[in-house]
Structure formats: structure tokens, C-alpha cells
């Protein structure tokens, strides 16, 4: 059985500014990566500091490795020594890169000799072998963060806390460092809490995801669950759902609901356990689930229950993907490759046929989605 490395229950922290952090329940398992995702100022970093016992909570419990680490009588230093944190800023000390990497070991009274293997692995993997004698001040932001990561990882912590470690790095270095870091995390299988506001990072590395907004966990679940079944419009937008359409449940039969869309003759079919007829809902469709066809070619019968005729209104270049917006009586967004653009001859004002499986259409809870704070 996989045991929980960290569990938070009923945690609350209020600030004089009026901001409050409230976590009813959150946990992560051993050797798994929990990604905390949310906009700036949502409370992600605060939660990391509370987990790392750098700040105290007003109430609630945190269990680390099955031990309660909140309340009186906790040896905070001992707990911190079993974790290590990398913050958004590298926060390196005014000594050599080598000394910086060994600093945590030094605080633990340990010698490099016991960590030689991981040291060599990290300096090689993080490409900082040639920087060891340098002072961090002479390094680029990306290099500094590599050193900060090595400093945290060499401690082989029971729980690694990464608080937006890639946020302050330029785009090019970020992608490279992200790949290196994720390789290390996969290879070492380290239990990690990774904070980011980049959903792509979450999609790549997460086992489970907690979406935080305004100091509340809006949704917490396995990665696929959060990405496929966002619990609210906010989360849907945050996890990259480009198509959000309001409609009314017309009927539900055999776990498939037909949603009537205002101002469109197209109905949308969605797989759902149940939904009351006449309920106002919002349906969410991920752009990568929308398949486009050249309208002149008959795609033939398919298992996709939704197929809409529409006209391309805009094509945006997103780098690897092109974002194609289609007017089907409602706005539908699809991500396609350049290759598909060329093969299908896609361009603005061109008519296309798009299809989406009913299982890829997710019905978001109730009408009052923006006020939805029941999590």
C-alpha cells in the first residue's frame, strides 16, 4: 500500500491583510508528485511555507510521514531537515557554487563523502560541473536556479518542495531546465510538491493536482481527473479548456445527456451520470479533443456523437500547435499541427467539420459556476 507522505487536514491561516488560506484536505503519496497550480497570489507559496514550517497556521493539522508536525512540542528543525525547498528566486549565498550545493549537508553535520554519488549525478544532470568554483553572482538566472536545485536535491529529502522554481527564468533556459529537472524527478522518484502556474508543467509532471484560487483548494484529484473533469469554470480555464459553452440539459438517457445551446441549432452530447432536465450548465471541451475535417470530404460514420459544421474565424500560432477558432453557433477551439493546417488547407473563413466524442465533453456543475466555492 502506498503511504501518504504528507496530509493536511482543516488547515487555516488568516492574515491582517484580509487574505486567508483554508485547506480542508490535501495529501500526497510517497514517490508521487503533487502539483499545486493556481494564479499568482492564490496562496500556493504560503502553503509551501506552512508545510515547510517556515510559517505557522492558525489551526488544522499537518501529518508528515504519519507524524503530526503542527502544534506545540514539534522540533521544527528536525522536520525541516527531512524536507528541502527551492523557491522562485535561487537565493544562493555569497560563497562558491560548490559551497552552496553543500550548505544543507553542512547544516546537517554531514560530509560530502557520504553524498558523492548523488553529487556527481546532480552536477552532471544539471550541467553545473564547470561552475563549481564560480561565485553565484557571476551566473545567469537559469544557472543559479540549477545550483539551487542541486542544493535541495543533494539532501535526498523525504519531501521536496519546489515553489515555482522555473518562474523567473527566460523561456529558452526554462524549457531546458524543466526537462532536466523532470528527468531527475522521474529518475529519483522523489516525493515532491511542485508549485506552478503553468498548466503545461502540471500536465507533464503531475500525478495529482490541487488547483488553488483565493486561498482555497478549488479542486484536488488525479491529474486526468482535474484536466478532464474540471470542477468549475475557473478551473476549466486554468487547466486549458478553451471551449466553455452555456446550455440547458434537454434530456439524459443511457448516461448521455443532450445539451441545448442557446442561439445554436447544434446540440452537444456529453457523457454524464445524471443531470436534471432543464438545468443550466456549462460544457467544457478541451481543444486537443476537437478533431477537424475538410468539409468536402465525408469522414463517414464515426463513434464521435458530436459533429458540427462551422466556419474558421481565426488561426493563432502557439508554437508547436496552431489554435483554430471555429464558429459553430458557439465558439469551438481546436489545437492542430502545422501539418494538419496544410493538409486540410485550413484558413480563416473556410468551412470545416469538427467532431468531439461525448466522453470528451464535460458538464461543469450548476449554473452559478463563478460563485462555486463548495470544495
Amino acid at each position: 500500500m502506498v503511504s501518504k507522505i504528507l496530509e493536511i487536514i482543516g488547515l487555516e491561516k488568516k492574515y491582517n491583510s484580509g487574505f486567508s488560506l483554508k485547506v480542508d484536505r490535501l495529501f500526497t503519496e510517497e514517490n508521487k508528485i503533487l502539483v499545486m497550480i493556481g494564479p499568482n497570489g492564490s496562496g500556493k507559496s504560503t502553503l509551501i511555507r506552512i508545510i515547510n514550517l517556515l510559517e505557522s497556521s492558525d489551526s488544522g493539522s499537518i501529518y508528515f510521514n504519519d507524524k503530526l508536525i503542527t502544534g506545540n512540542g514539534v522540533n521544527k528543525i528536525m522536520v525541516r531537515k527531512e524536507m528541502s525547498t527551492v523557491f522562485q528566486e535561487p537565493l544562493l549565498f555569497n560563497t562558491s557554487v560548490y559551497n552552496n550545493i553543500l550548505m544543507g549537508l553542512e547544516f546537517r553535520g554531514k560530509k560530502i563523502s557520504g553524498s558523492k554519488e548523488i553529487f556527481n549525478y546532480l552536477i552532471d544532470k544539471l550541467k553545473i560541473k564547470n561552475l563549481l568554483k564560480r561565485n553565484p553572482k557571476s551566473l545567469s538566472g537559469g544557472e543559479q536556479q540549477r545550483v539551487a536545485l542541486a542544493r535541495a536535491l543533494i539532501l535526498e529529502p523525504k519531501l521536496l518542495l519546489l515553489d515555482e522554481p522555473l518562474a523567473n527564468i527566460d523561456q529558452l533556459s526554462r524549457e531546458e531546465l524543466r526537462n532536466d529537472l523532470f528527468d531527475i524527478l522521474r529518475a529519483t522518484g522523489r516525493s515532491t510538491i511542485y508549485v506552478t502556474h503553468d498548466r503545461n508543467e502540471a500536465m507533464i509532471i503531475a500525478d495529482s493536482i490541487a488547483v488553488i484560487n483565493e486561498g482555497r483548494i478549488e479542486q484536488f484529484g488525479l491529474k486526468d481527473e482535474v484536466f478532464r473533469k474540471p470542477a468549475s469554470e475557473f478551473i476549466a480555464k486554468f487547466v486549458g479548456v478553451e471551449t466553455l459553452i452555456e446550455g440547458i440539459v434537454a434530456e439524459c438517457k443511457d448516461n448521455v445527456c443532450r445539451i441545448k445551446i442557446d442561439g445554436s441549432k447544434n446540440d452537444i452530447f456529453a457523457v454524464a451520470a445524471s443531470a436534471d432536465q432543464g438545468t443550466k450548465v456549462t460544457v467544457a471541451i478541451r481543444p486537443e479533443d476537437v478533431i477537424l475535417y475538410n468539409i468536402e470530404m465525408n469522414p463517414g460514420l464515426s463513434s464521435a456523437m458530436n459533429s458540427f459544421k462551422g466556419e474558421i474565424t481565426e488561426i493563432q500560432d502557439l508554437g508547436i500547435f496552431k489554435k483554430v477558432e471555429i464558429d459553430c453557433g458557439f465558439k469551438l477551439v481546436s489545437f492542430v499541427t502545422q501539418n494538419s493546417i496544410e493538409r486540410l488547407g485550413l484558413e480563416p473563413r473556410k468551412k470545416v467539420l469538427s467532431s468531439v466524442k461525448a466522453s470528451s465533453v464535460h458538464i461543469l456543475a450548476g449554473r452559478a459556476l463563478n460563485a462555486d466555492r463548495q470544495f
Binding site: 511555507r49 537565493l91 555569497n94 542544493r151
Partner: protein, 239 residues
């Protein structure tokens, strides 16, 4: 002009002749000021660190007291120590008035607030997030203070320089509590005053030149530590 020129010439003769009395004065000056600065460092640096790195209710008030102490007139320090150590004073029983110990106490009273104040200002300039980073790496309280002091190394050394400069050039307090007794409590500054009063300008000039050279040597040493390249034990070991 002749007086000054003659004075400088005689001063150099005096310096290089290896005059025993001058040598004793130099040694006592270094001893009193050196010990006073070391004690002031031991007191001032931790006080500066603790105040600078912690938040508490009366922090501003305490900082104001230290800042006032930084400008403490030496004669006030001398008077206070005299009152304490005077035969009928609270600490008179110790019998250390007019001894180098009394001079050291007075100088500690002058230098400690300077070192504490400059250290305090220095650590307040250090990125406060470094403290969090050190804690998150598992540092205990002493390790946090030490690592942040190292971060504030440059201004902290300036604090020591300021403290040393303050005490080696001081005359009022050491005159009051030391008494400028020949062979016992006479230091460069008090000896200079004495010789000017007696019209021995050549000796006074010699003493001032020595005082300047001493201050210069000590500050060269501290500046070298302060400004040297950030070499680590690792670099020194492998280079």
C-alpha cells in the same frame, strides 16, 4: 614652518631609534584598543544580528538607543566609567581605576554601540528571504545567524574598522579613566596631548605619525579581508 619641519625630522629619528618609552606606548595602545575592539565585536555583532534579524515590539526604540550609543561622546563614557570605578563608586572595590582595564572598559562602551549599529544596518540590507532559505535547508538558529553574518561580511568588517577607528583615536575617556600614567596607562593619544602641552612638538608629531601608521596598517589588513575575492576553502585548497 621651521618648527613643523624640525618636528617631523626629529619624529622620524625618534621612530627609528627604537625608543623604549615610545615602544611601550605603542604596545599598550595596541593592547588596549585591540582587546577593546575584540570585546566590542563579541558584544556588538551578536546584538546587531539579533536585533536586525528579529522582529519584536520595541525594536525601533532599541535601535534608537543603539544609534544614540553610536554617537556617545567619549567624555560621557569616561565619566560613566569613572563614576562606576571610583573608590567610593559601585565597582570601586575592584580597584581598577587608572589601569589599562579601566581604559578597555571605557573603550568597549564607546565601540560596542558602533559595531552593533553598523552590524544591525548591515544585516538589514541582506535579502530577508535568505533567512527563510537557510531555515528551509535545516539550519538551526546559530547557523542562520552565522550564514547571514557572512552575507553581511563587507559592512560587518566596516563596523569593526569603525569601532577600531573610534577607540584608537579616542583621548577623552582614556585620559579620565586611565590617568595617562607614564609606563602604565599612557597611550599614543594621551601621550600626544601631554607632549603638546609640554611643547615637545617633535615627540607629539612622532606619536601622531605612529598613530596614523598603526591605524593605516590595521585598516589595510581589514580592507584586504573585506575586499578580497570571494575565495572559498575549496578554492584555496585546490588552487
Amino acid at each position: 614652518m621651521e618648527l613643523i619641519w624640525q618636528g617631523i625630522k626629529s619624529a622620524f629619528i625618534l621612530i627609528f631609534s627604537g625608543n623604549k618609552e615610545i615602544l611601550e606606548i605603542i604596545l599598550l595602545t595596541l593592547k588596549v584598543s585591540g582587546i577593546a575592539v575584540i570585546i566590542s565585536m563579541v558584544l556588538g555583532i551578536p546584538i546587531g544580528l539579533l536585533i536586525g534579524l528579529n522582529n519584536f515590539k520595541s525594536k525601533r526604540f532599541v535601535i534608537t538607543i543603539i544609534n544614540t550609543g553610536m554617537g556617545l561622546p567619549p567624555v560621557a563614557a569616561g565619566l560613566f566609567v569613572s563614576l562606576m570605578l571610583w573608590r567610593s563608586g559601585p565597582l570601586g572595590i575592584m580597584g581598577i581605576m587608572y589601569t589599562p582595564t579601566a581604559m578597555i572598559i571605557a573603550q568597549v562602551l564607546i565601540a560596542s554601540p558602533i559595531i552593533a549599529g553598523v552590524t544591525l544596518a548591515a544585516v538589514q540590507q541582506v535579502n530577508p528571504k535568505l533567512k527563510l532559505q537557510a531555515l528551509s535547508l535545516g539550519a538551526n538558529r546559530v547557523q542562520v545567524l552565522w550564514i547571514l553574518l557572512k552575507e553581511a561580511k563587507l559592512p560587518a568588517l566596516a563596523a569593526i574598522m569603525a569601532g577600531f577607528g573610534g577607540v584608537i583615536s579616542e583621548v577623552g575617556a582614556v585620559m579620565m579613566v586611565g590617568g595617562n600614567i607614564k609606563g602604565q596607562t599612557r597611550v599614543l593619544t594621551t601621550a600626544t596631548v601631554q607632549n603638546v602641552r609640554m611643547g615637545n612638538f617633535d615627540v607629539a608629531i612622532a606619536l601622531v605619525i605612529i598613530l596614523l601608521i598603526l591605524a593605516f596598517i590595521v585598516n589595510i589588513f581589514l580592507t584586504l579581508i573585506q575586499q578580497r575575492e570571494n575565495m572559498t576553502w575549496y578554492q584555496r585548497f585546490w588552487k
